[in-house]
């Protein structure tokens, strides 16, 4: 059946899961070999995602749609996964006996998220979300020597379960209102019902589950603790790949309202503002880089929301672009953190001291990444913000955009603190030199180039995201 071709990326990830399931059954764990396998397989995964990017069609009785929108996100997911796997050469945060399971859960999680972005049926969406969430719960809880951070797993789990409780409850209302679980029909019917409390509450509750994944205020509460407490690679994965899926599904769900309800939009505006402001303000006082980036991710969920809540094609496109930008620059930052803390400990800001001497390349990558997060040109982060703001202003949200910019300035402050540590501070005791292998080096250079290139030559990327956003509505 030709239709199965459409399912190839997912199948490929299933295959990977199977491979690692098999590997996990070995008596002896050989981290290096696992790593090599993982890199190769996930690298091919990216290739598969690229090759299948132009596929289009419906499978599984219209429960699963393959279109540009989903394929773009799948590509981003595959890319994020690949990058994360690539940084796993020193997977010190996780017991070496469990490396196979680590890769297994990572790939299954990616699979879940890939299905999430393609699913156009509520039950499928729900299952996919849960699949990826469960993997993440497990990955977070896998951290070795976790005395300090033992509570992380349970916090993540409890918040996540509660949020998914909200989500199911919300979906039940949506089901009650529309009598269907198919997104296509939902999108037809729901905008006309936005005056009914149940419809809008259902939407809001269902969105809570996704906001949880996106770490939007007030569903962010897990983020700081999890970012801090999870193994560095897992944090990286959560901060990059998992955010892509969340963005994709939030865009899809917000689109349900069809922009019909002003109150709903107002709610999103409020959430976006709160998220940006809260994230940025609290990030200022952080000492642990991962925790800082967690708060910054809360803020970024808010920025992304600005694009989404404009409810136009341009808005969704800008949010997709923003997601892409966020993936690249956030990963750049995390990669540097991973490489510096290669023994898997949690990096404090002050430990970056003297980085410009220890590894100029990593320092530069970090700087560009942070400037990108702060929205400074010519990095991709700026272009992302620009597009998002353009979409919002097209709908006339001037105040919102100004608040967003104020927040960007606040965020600059703490990013600068990190940059200062990397470029300015001299370490009190000399830290061990950073080992930068060839792979890391080329990855860093690639990221730097990508951040700048996508930032200043955005045309084709914007066109791509707009095409993707268009396919949301077909």
């Amino acid at each position: 059946m030709m239709k199965w071709v459409l399912f190839i990326p997912e199948l490929y990830y299933v295959l990977m899961a199977v491979v690692f399931f098999a590997l996990s059954l070995q008596r002896k764990s050989e981290p290096r070999r696992l790593y090599t396998w993982a890199v190769i397989l996930s690298g091919v995964g990216v290739l598969v995602a690229v090759l299948s990017a132009r596929l289009e069609g419906m499978v599984f009785f219209d429960a699963y749609r393959v279109d540009l929108y989903s394929q773009v996100f799948k590509l981003l997911l595959a890319l994020g996964t690949f990058w994360v796997v690539l940084t796993c050469s020193e997977l010190e945060g996780i017991d070496s006996r469990q490396h196979a399971e680590f890769y297994l859960f990572t790939f299954i999680c990616t699979l879940g998220m890939m299905m999430l972005v393609s699913a156009v049926e509520l039950l499928t969406i729900y299952i996919s979300v849960e699949l990826s969430s469960y993997c993440l719960y497990l990955l977070v809880a896998m951290r070795r020597k976790t005395d300090e951070f033992a509570e992380t797993g349970i916090k993540y789990f409890m918040v996540g379960s509660t949020a998914s409780g909200f989500m199911v409850f919300g979906i039940s209302y949506l089901f009650g209102m529309t009598h269907t679980t198919y997104v296509a029909e939902l999108m037809k019917v729901l905008p006309g019902m936005m005056t009914e409390p149940a419809a809008i509450v259902g939407l809001v509750l269902a969105l809570s589950g996704f906001f949880f994944k996106q770490a939007l205020f007030p569903f962010h509460i897990w983020a700081p603790d999890v970012y801090q407490g999870a193994a560095n690679q897992v944090t990286t994965y959560i901060a990059t790949a998992s955010k892509m899926a969340a963005a994709a599904i939030v865009i899809r769900f917000v689109g349900f309202s069809g922009g019909e309800s002003a109150v709903f939009i107002k709610l999103l505006v409020v959430l976006s503002i709160l998220s940006m402001t809260f994230g940025n303000l609290v990030a200022i006082i952080q000492k642990d880089i991962k925790r800082l980036l967690a708060y910054s991710s809360i803020a970024h969920a808010g920025y992304m929301m600005i694009g989404i809540l404009s409810m136009t094609q341009r808005g969704y496109a800008s949010a997709i672009y923003y997601a892409l930008a966020y993936l690249i620059m956030n990963f750049a930052c995390f990669m540097v953190i991973l490489k510096i803390a290669d023994d898997g400990h949690n990096l404090k800001i002050k430990e970056l001291a003297g980085l410009h001497k220890r590894s100029p390349l990593l320092a530069m990558t970090l700087m560009l990444g942070l400037f990108g997060l702060a929205g400074i040109p010519p990095t991709v982060g700026f272009t992302g913000k620009f597009l998002v703001f353009a979409a919002a202003l097209e709908q006339g949200y001037l105040t919102l955009v100004i608040i967003g910019m104020i927040n960007a300035t606040i965020s600059l402050y703490y990013y600068l603190i990190v940059i200062k540590a990397a470029y300015l501070l001299e370490p009190v005791n000399p830290y061990p030199p950073v080992r930068v292998d060839k792979w890391t080096k080329s990855l860093a250079i690639f990221l730097v180039i990508a951040m700048v290139y996508v930032g200043i030559f955005p045309d084709q990327f914007v066109a791509l995201t707009e095409a993707a956003a268009r396919s949301l509505f077909i």
């Binding site: 400074i376 620009f386 001037l398 914007v462």
Partner: protein, 491 residues
């Protein structure tokens, strides 16, 4: 803007690339080759200077208008263009940038600490400055604007002096806070413009409703005003300048502050003429307050760089006042002042830089009697001070003359107050000159050598520029005017 005009050597891109390439080349120079880094920097900044001079030479004043246009569609869906061109307003600014960069590189010839990074950041900064001045597309203007701002942080925080971390942080945050209003302002205009283009002139042609103009102009004015040192958003300037290393102060006070005024002129006034009319009163008021206030506060400072910082506030007030008059001469004068003040401040900071490098203090009470030990170094400062006072036959005199004439015409009371500010500025400049350079030979600094020829060269160039355009103001004013007259008539 026809294709025929496009068919020429993309000189503007070449100028821009001279810095970008310089940056890249510097980055690939292996560590430890400091001398080479400096030479490469000099070569690339020299290329930029030569190209700018050629541009200045080749610009057809008779024809006026936008020349050397490069225009390519950049981002289709948003209507962003790679649109660069030169007219009488930005040509002097480009020249200024090139001169200040070149002299700045020379000034930092003795830098020893992290040379490579310093020049890399400096080139990045200047790339941004060039970009802002050349671009005629709002998107690119903003991009380059921010590019020119953020390297300030490392430049100040790493190589700076007094309270460098505080100063760097304050300056960077403050200036980028300005873009809090600029970016929404730009996009707001785009969204309201209907044509959905960021092309400056196309937007201007489309026009906006008065209400939109009022909002957008205020946003652009305040946003760019921060960088232009508009009172009361000026306090970053002294603090930042004090903290910054010499060349950075030069570039920053000399060129970067002009970006603010340029932005107000190029974006705010071109796109929102009615907004300008609406807010001109406020502009004039703030500018006047800035002129007088800056001078008075400068009077009380004990740090050389603080003094210069406040004098910049005062002088940029003159620019603002000129712009707010909306007359040909006001704007002529403002643009001229931008140029003149740029060169003058660069000279100021470069003179102070030498003194600071040698004495490791820039507190006026610690200095004194420097003329005896380093007459040439002192002479540079004193010349700059005279340029700052507005002594004739220095470039800034003409600018101030034009601005004040139109200011008194348009806003008599504010104009007179602004003119009175000149006395105070004379007072504080001379006070500094006297306390620093006059008086008994200070034995503490007796051992310090005078400026060697290599380090004097950049300063001599700057003095030369000041005096040359002071004696032959038409050399630059005609150019400026070729753009300002049509500009004002279109207001």
């Amino acid at each position: 803007m026809t294709s025929m005009e496009m068919a020429h050597f993309p000189i503007l891109t070449a100028i821009l690339m001279s810095t970008v390439l310089g940056l890249i080349v510097i980055m690939f120079i292996p560590d430890g080759r400091d001398k080479l880094v400096k030479q490469v920097s000099l070569v690339f900044s020299g290329i930029g200077l030569i190209l700018c001079l050629w541009l200045y030479h080749a610009y057809d004043v008779e024809k006026g208008g936008l020349q050397f246009v490069e225009r390519t569609l950049w981002v289709k869906s948003l209507g962003i263009y790679w649109f660069m061109g030169v007219d009488g307003i930005n040509l002097p600014m480009l020249l200024l940038t090139a001169v200040v960069l070149f002299t700045g590189v020379l000034t930092m010839w003795e830098l020893e600490n992290r040379v490579k990074e310093f020049f890399a950041f400096t080139f990045l900064l200047v790339a941004g400055v060039y970009g802002v001045f050349m671009s005629m597309d709002l998107f690119w203007i903003f991009v380059w604007y921010d590019v020119s701002l953020f390297p300030m942080y490392p430049l100040i925080a790493i190589w700076g002096g007094t309270r460098k971390e505080y100063g760097g942080m304050k300056l960077t945050l403050y200036l980028l806070a300005g873009s809090v209003l600029i970016l929404p302002g730009i996009i707001y205009l785009w969204a309201e413009g209907g044509a959905h283009t960021f092309d400056l002139f196309e937007l201007a042609r489309g026009g906006f409703s008065p209400q939109v103009q009022n909002i957008a102009f205020l946003m652009l004015y305040l946003g760019f005003g921060v960088l232009a040192g508009v009172w009361p958003f000026h306090t970053w300037s002294p603090v930042g300048h004090v903290a910054a290393p010499t060349a950075v102060s030069m570039i920053h006070a000399g060129v970067l502050m002009k970006l603010g005024a340029y932005g107000i002129l190029r974006l705010g006034m071109t796109l929102c003429p009615e907004g300008l009319v609406y807010w001109a009163d406020l502009m004039a008021l703030l500018a006047t307050v800035g002129i007088v206030y800056g001078a008075f506060v400068g009077l009380a400072q004990t740090d050389l760089k603080y003094v210069i910082g406040y004098s910049s506030v005062s002088h940029m007030g003159i620019v603002g006042l000129g712009l707010s008059t909306m007359t040909v001469n006001g704007i002529n004068g403002a643009v001229f002042q931008m140029f003149a003040h740029g060169v003058m401040t660069a000279l100021f900071f470069s003179a102070v830089g030498y003194i600071y490098d040698k004495t490791h203090t820039k507190m006026i009470p610690d200095l004194g009697g420097l003329s005896k030990t380093m007459p040439v170094a002192s002479a540079f400062f004193i010349i700059a001070a005279f340029a700052g006072i507005g002594v004739p036959c220095m470039a800034s005199f003409w600018a101030e003359l034009l601005v004040f004439i139109s200011a008194v015409q348009t806003y008599p009371v504010r104009g007179i107050f602004a003119v009175l500010g000149l006395v105070v500025s004379a007072l504080f400049m001379l006070r500094v000159v006297m306390s620093t350079f006059y008086g008994e030979k200070n034995e503490r600094w007796a051992h310090i050598p005078d400026v060697p020829m290599s380090l004097a060269t950049p300063r001599i160039i700057l003095v030369g520029v000041i005096v040359f355009f002071g004696l032959f103001p038409r050399m630059i004013l005609d150019v400026i005017q070729s753009a300002v007259i049509p500009f004002v008539s279109s207001l």
